[in-house]
């Protein structure tokens, strides 16, 4: 097993175990403020005296599940629209592809900030916004693939024999699309995590959440953090964790791609 897979597994398991046992340590004040790392607080505490490791454990899962939900819904929407567009073709195809073009043509980050501001910065709205922005890429790849598969005689045969559309889609199109969809899913996941972190860093995330981006934001907001030794654990811990997560997902997608 590759180390990046172990890393991903650790984040998920740690989050799951932590949440399962009703962990509230990422919100509760458990020590003095700005403690250095010790046995009780391995990564020290922040300015409010909350344990940083607990925040890290909670924030990792938060990020991954945010990625899974937003990428999942984007893949779902993208594949449906891609199949409809490619299989039915004609005017519907033109229309759907135009919508795709419009969404991809807009500056994503700005749109994200705007939508985030309008919809409010909750976990759910974050997922919806991320999904809305990422489906067009999937739709395009799926559509191209569907156009290729559609030309096979067996599809014409199925159509002529009256096989219902849902059976044609689930039996003929989805199996060969599966590897494409998995790849798109993982790529979108890392993109979503990155975007959420960016938003949070800019202070546009859910202020009550303890995501890694929000931790970074809080740490950076501490006046003169670089003049104190606190940045070594308060700032670097979430940063390294985040970089490693993005890298791990990229490595995973690379492996699937080959």
């Amino acid at each position: 097993m590759k180390s990046y897979k172990i890393y991903l597994a650790i984040i998920i398991i740690a989050f799951a175990v932590y949440t399962l046992f009703g962990g509230t340590a990422h919100q509760a004040v458990s020590g003095a403020s700005l403690e250095s790392p010790s046995l009780t607080h391995p990564l020290g505490t922040d300015d409010l005296g909350i344990d940083i490791l607990a925040q890290l454990i909670h924030g990792g899962g938060y990020s991954i599940f945010l990625g899974i939900f937003s990428a999942g819904s984007a893949t779902f929407i993208g594949s449906i629209i891609g199949i409809i567009s490619g299989y039915i073709g004609g005017k519907i195809d033109h229309f759907l592809m135009a919508v795709c073009d419009i969404i991809t043509g807009m500056p994503q980050m700005i749109l994200l900030i705007l939508l985030g501001a309008f919809l409010g910065a909750s976990y759910l709205s974050m997922i919806i916004v991320l999904a809305m922005l990422s489906w067009p890429q999937t739709a395009r790849t799926i559509r191209a693939r569907v156009l290729f598969i559609k030309e096979h005689d067996y599809i014409r045969y199925s159509k002529q024999m009256g096989t219902p559309l849902y059976a044609i889609i689930t039996r003929h199109f989805l199996p060969p699309l599966k590897p494409l969809l998995t790849l798109a899913f993982i790529k979108m996941m890392s993109r979503s995590i990155m975007m959420e972190a960016s938003l949070a860093y800019l202070g546009l995330g859910d202020p009550t959440s303890k995501s890694w981006g929000m931790m970074l934001n809080k740490a950076m907001a501490f006046p003169g953090i670089y003049f104190t030794p606190y940045w070594k654990w308060w700032l670097t811990a979430p940063l390294i964790a985040l970089v490693c997560l993005i890298l791990s997902l990229m490595l995973l997608s690379k492996e699937i791609e080959v």
């Binding site: 096979h152 005689d153 067996y154 014409r156 045969y157 199925s158 002529q160 024999m161 009256g162 096989t163 219902p164 059976a167 039996r171 003929h172 199996p175 060969p176």
Partner: protein, 564 residues
């Protein structure tokens, strides 16, 4: 017109203690100097008819109907004077028809003394004359039957039959078990004798070549039923009864290039009543099982005893049109193409690549939509979707089996698709039919094979699977579009053989699309040549394919001519 020499009116023969007629009522007519042929498989009652005309069956069978000879309706006693003197029969050639203890000349002289009452000496004189007429060398005249060959024995039998200069001669299987040279001699002999003596001749044979050589009118019999009547050309060129077509298809002497196929012994369960050919017929309908055969009237000319009025038209394509628009050009892929496919017929569509063959197939099967034209199936307009989705409709087998099958599917899934979605069959029935069709196309039908994935199959196996999938719908018309194009010669030969065998045994019609003239010649009943989307030649297979010899010469030398 000459008055008929022999007229048979509604004659039927039933042997004593037999539940059914050996020969059902039929009509027949012979004019002096004319030759008619009676054809049929063994057991069709041909010999019974001969014996009835000879008046030999009165103590063995009940005979109804009338036989009029030379203007006189015959009663049982009349035959005493007519038999051998006026009506003679050349028996089927067999070693036991001659008396082994008697010299040949004496055997020929015997009927002359008994029937004409000539003296022994004069009779012998006449016997010598007859033996000379039939071309038997004088060295053999004193021989015993066991010393002569089959051909010679046939000549002696003809000499005996002609002993009393009959007005009507019946020849029962004159050439059976003779070699080709002897056959030819016997046929030529009978013809020259007929010219000399001007007798009416009835030839009974199952050999189409003999009938073709000798007869001007043909009566086709099956199981004692008279199924078709017509002049020689009508019957051989345009057979109207499926049975006649089958007989012709089984005669290799008629066309040297074609493959031969016997009439299948049984396509469906036999019917208790109705048409006798029902179980073997490729175009039987439920109504055929109730069809009551009426004797054919000879005066009508070419006539047929078939519930469907003869071989029916299955598919009729009129003025089919398809254009493709590529940028600013319009390509007439198919322009004004009309043709028809009869029941049980194999139509070969021949053309070079780009001639519109595949587009034509796709139009009929609905893979492409037509711009203009009409397609009728069994005389009613039908959409390709309906035809594809119903049993007894049409099915298409395309050239690339890899594209026709989803390679991720299991074999079970492939065969399931039409059964489940088009026929809405239950699981159990599907499974049974699946194994049945796999067996038909000579693929394993085991459970483990059904679970196999399509990509694990070879090209030949895939094509068989596509055929099996088409067969699940038991189509009346199968369109085979260059099905051997992607296969190696050996596999291709196997597939073509298999397909033709299934076509024969299941009785479906076929449109066989190919660029290979040799192959088309082997299997086609009719042929259509396409060039640039237009029909340039259309007609009976042998005619079209012989006139299209030139197409053969454009071919590279390493052709698939090995397919046979």
């Amino acid at each position: 017109m000459q008055p008929p020499l022999l007229t048979i009116d509604a004659l039927s023969i039933r042997y004593h203690k037999q539940p059914v007629n050996a020969v059902h009522p039929f009509n027949l007519q012979v004019i002096a100097g004319e030759t008619i042929g009676i054809v049929g498989e063994s057991g069709s009652g041909k010999s019974s008819i001969a014996h009835a005309i000879m008046g030999l069956l009165f103590d063995k069978a009940t005979i109804e109907g009338t036989i009029t000879f030379d203007g006189k309706t015959l009663m049982q006693p009349d035959w005493q004077t007519l038999r051998w003197r006026q009506i003679a029969l050349v028996f089927q050639n067999a070693s036991n028809v001659l008396n082994p203890m008697m010299k040949l000349s004496d055997q020929v002289a015997e009927p002359i003394t008994t029937h004409l009452g000539l003296s022994k000496g004069r009779a012998r004189q006449r016997a010598f004359q007859l033996l000379q007429d039939v071309g038997l060398d004088s060295t053999w005249w004193q021989a015993y039957p066991s010393q002569i060959s089959g051909g010679m024995r046939q000549k002696v039998l003809i000499a005996m039959a002609l002993a009393c200069q009959p007005k009507l001669l019946i020849v029962d299987e004159p050439t059976m078990s003779l070699d080709p040279a002897a056959k030819h001699q016997v046929v030529a002999l009978i013809q020259s004798l007929q010219e000399k003596y001007h007798f009416g001749l009835i030839v009974i044979s199952h050999e189409m070549k003999i009938i073709q050589h000798m007869c001007s009118k043909v009566y086709v019999f099956y199981k004692g039923h008279h199924l078709e009547y017509g002049t020689l050309n009508d019957v051989l060129e345009k057979p109207r009864h499926p049975y006649t077509k089958g007989l012709i298809g089984a005669s290799w002497e008629l066309d040297a290039h074609r493959d031969i196929w016997g009439i299948p012994t049984s396509i469906r369960a036999s019917a208790a009543s109705g048409c006798p050919f029902y179980e073997r017929c490729f175009q039987a309908k439920p109504a055929c099982a109730q069809y009551d055969i009426k004797p054919l009237t000879i005066q009508q000319g070419h006539s047929v005893a078939c519930q469907r009025g003869g071989i029916a038209t299955l598919l009729n394509v009129q003025a089919l049109q398809k254009n493709f628009h590529i940028r600013h050009h319009t390509i007439n892929a198919v322009s004004n193409v009309s043709f028809e496919v009869k029941e049980g017929e194999v139509l070969a569509i021949i053309g070079t690549s780009g001639s519109g063959k595949s587009t034509l197939a796709h139009l009929i099967a609905g893979y492409e939509t037509k711009d203009a034209g009409s397609i009728t199936f069994e005389n009613s307009p039908a959409s390709p979707e309906d035809l594809m989705r119903r049993q007894g409709g049409l099915q298409l087998v395309t050239q690339d089996p890899a594209a026709a099958l989803n390679s991720c599917w299991r074999i079970r899934d492939v065969l399931n698709e039409p059964l489940k979605w088009s026929l809405k069959m239950c699981e159990k029935k599907r499974h049974r039919l699946m194994r049945h069709v796999l067996h038909d196309v000579q693929l394993p039908s085991s459970e483990s094979f059904l679970e196999k994935q399509v990509h694990a199959l070879s090209g030949g196996e895939k094509q068989r699977l596509v055929l099996a999938r088409a067969l699940t719908m038991s189509p009346k018309l199968l369109i085979a579009d260059e099905i051997t194009a992607m296969l190696d010669p050996s596999n291709a030969a196997n597939i073509v053989k298999l397909l033709k065998a299934m076509q024969n045994s299941h009785g479906f019609s076929m449109i066989f699309i190919t660029h290979d003239l040799y192959l088309a010649r082997k299997i086609a009943d009719t042929a259509l040549v396409l060039e640039h989307g237009k029909v340039v030649d259309y007609g009976p297979g042998p005619d079209v394919l012989t006139t299209r010899q030139d197409m053969l010469h454009h071919r590279p030398s390493n052709t698939l001519s090995s397919i046979s």
